[in-house]
């Protein structure tokens, strides 16, 4: 954490005092809050297809995601980040939207793999959603079919950069733009 603050990019924060003297951490509230937010990204375990296996491998022993303070949660209400890992079909689309809506603000979405980004290999198929950004806002696109664990690791670090660079107050209060309601027997209208 100290190295991060001493990096040339950051001038708004610092640490004063040495060991045994009662150190003081100073900085802009926005920066310090972002710093803590970025180191506790909990992601929603949302594996639909092949990318889900790579996501599990990334969480596994070799490319350990825990060291970023990331742990998987099974419930959307406890998670900050939705990793859309895999193909989303139209039958699933309503549920993805529902899961996204259940997450608490601030929330982020990574479209992992080509299927989630644009339909990928299956973009000619009659039942596959051509990109998850048609139903939820996406912060980061990760190419690959499926992306390697290293790639997912990199995406997570980029996600942390995004979080560090944003204004947390705006992120907390802003409403995500309303998306078209899903009609004709979709879950959302009925509820």
């Amino acid at each position: 954490m100290v190295e991060e603050m001493n990096s040339p990019r950051v001038i708004e924060a610092g640490l004063e005092g040495g060991p045994g003297q009662g150190a003081v951490l100073w900085g802009k509230a926005s920066y310090l809050l972002n710093l803590s937010r970025k180191h506790s990204l909990w992601y929603l375990l949302f594996a639909t297809a092949c990318c889900g296996i790579e996501m599990m491998q990334t969480g596994g022993p070799r490319t350990d995601l825990d060291r970023f303070g990331m742990v998987f949660r099974a419930s959307p209400r406890q998670s900050d980040l939705m990793l859309v890992a895999g193909t989303i079909t139209y039958k699933m689309a309503d549920r993805v939207k529902l899961l996204y809506d259940q997450m608490a603000e601030p929330k982020y979405v990574i479209a992992m793999g080509s299927c989630a980004s644009c339909g990928g290999l299956f973009q000619k198929s009659y039942s596959v959603l051509k990109g998850v950004d048609l139903i939820v806002p996406v912060d980061l696109y990760l190419p690959g079919c499926p992306p390697r664990p290293e790639a997912l690791n990199d995406a997570m670090m980029k996600m942390q950069d995004i979080i560090l660079s944003e204004d947390w107050r705006r992120k907390m209060t802003e409403k995500t733009e309303p998306r078209p309601q899903m009609g004709r027997g979709g879950i959302l209208k009925r509820a």
């Binding site: 375990l45 949302f46 594996a47 639909t48 297809a49 092949c50 889900g52 296996i53 790579e54 599990m56 491998q57 596994g60 022993p61 070799r62 099974a74 959307p76 895999g86 193909t87 079909t89 039958k91 699933m92 549920r95 899961l99 290999l121 299956f122 000619k124 198929s125 009659y126 039942s127 596959v128 079919c145 499926p146 390697r148 027997g185 009925r190």
Partner: protein
């Protein structure tokens, strides 16, 4: 939900519980609508199709060799088998011979893949029951296998390795020794794994006598692979309808025997998988020892145009019979490709097998069937 509610008369003392499609224990996007009397289920109706990607329809628009990468996505935990089944069906349609060396390579990679798939299968079953460590052990070993296969074909998950007429790459130098080294470390690890989980009292208590599927029911529902053998039916395509180079090797077909409870319970299916990994090690050793020299690709015309006809190629995948029914109309694209996968049948039996189980045991049932969503939905 609405359908499930309409379909059955709901009396006051029954509750309806939805599980999935996003649920960590359903192994992908499968949904179960449980009708329960308290903790005891009357039935759990599976709802599938959340990963239906229309692969069969996509095949109709692609030339024969171009469809192979799509078959990877039919079973992403064990994609070699999915490649192999399709390649075999098209080879039967064309009536061509595959070189011996290619057949041996196919067997080696398939069996490596079977180990990788079963590691996830048994690890995930332990995880669903509540023990997280075996899953991480499985993932750790699977990484080593991924490295080996990556060195061979460049991909970790979606291999596109077994092509029509042969395989895409020969062994790089030194891979033989790496596979042997892996097998040498894997065998002691299996003993450790057995001590950790296989004879673990908690796992045995959770699995033994739970979700019993007798042989007749298993046959009627078309169960295949370890699920069928777990019920005591002695059927293995590798031995009984031999294909590829399997007649050259000696191996046992592992059967459920009611190890700690009734024949055909969840524990039998678990044990069959654990034993199959050991059999796979045997097969790989034999194949490495007897690996013949020669070509790795058969002689193929530039454009594959099989004459009119139908062929069915089925392999014994990690989840049982994975068959491709390919219908040709004489052009360079298949007229119809039907994929028959083991998880489809395994999921269809859930409604029958879940009657009278506790809700917590549903997770055991699903995990013991080792279903994978894209095989069900394709």
């Amino acid at each position: 939900m609405e359908n499930a509610l309409n379909k059955q008369a709901v009396s006051d003392d029954l509750m309806i519980l939805n599980m999935g499609p996003q649920h960590p224990s359903t192994h992908g996007v499968i949904r179960f609508v449980i009708t329960g009397d308290g903790e005891v289920m009357q039935r759990a109706v599976p709802h599938v199709g959340y990963l239906h990607r229309g692969i069969e329809k996509l095949a109709e628009g692609l030339p024969y060799p171009s469809f192979v990468p799509f078959t990877d996505r039919v079973d992403y935990l064990a994609a070699m088998f999915a490649n192999h089944g399709y390649a075999m069906a098209v080879e039967r349609l064309l009536g061509i011979e595959v070189p011996r060396r290619a057949e041996y390579l196919r067997v080696i990679v398939s069996e490596l893949n079977r180990i990788a798939s079963h590691l996830i299968g048994v690890g995930a079953m332990a995880m669903d029951i509540g023990a997280f460590t075996p899953f991480l052990h499985g993932i750790r070993e699977r990484e080593k296998l991924n490295d080996i296969i990556e060195e061979l074909c460049g991909a970790r998950l979606t291999y596109n390795y077994i092509r029509v007429g042969g395989v895409s790459f020969d062994f790089p130098q030194g891979l033989d020794a790496k596979i042997r080294a892996f097998l040498d470390t894997f065998e002691p690890l299996m003993e450790e794994f057995d001590r950790l989980i296989t004879v673990n009292e908690i796992l045995v208590k959770r699995c033994a006598n739970v979700a019993v599927i007798d042989a007749e029911t298993a046959k009627s529902y078309g169960l295949v692979g370890p699920n069928l053998r777990g019920s005591g039916v002695d059927w293995d395509l590798r031995r009984d309808l031999p294909y590829s180079a399997y007649p050259d090797f000696e191996f046992n077909v592992c059967l459920g025997r009611g190890f700690r409870g009734t024949l055909g319970d969840a524990y039998d299916r678990f044990i069959v998988r654990v034993q199959e990994m050991q059999e796979s090690v045997k097969i790989i050793r034999q194949a490495l020892d007897g690996l013949p020299e020669g070509e790795i690709k058969g002689k193929l015309p530039r454009k594959l145009k099989p004459a009119k006809g139908e062929a069915y190629g089925a392999v014994e995948s990690a989840r049982g019979e994975l068959g491709y029914h390919v219908i040709s109309d004489g052009t360079d694209k298949p007229y119809r490709v039907k994929i028959r996968a083991g998880s489809f049948n395994a999921t269809s039996i859930v409604e029958h097998a879940s009657r009278g189980l506790m809700i917590a045991d549903l997770v055991v049932l699903i995990a013991s069937l080792d279903v994978i969503a894209p095989e069900i939905d394709r």
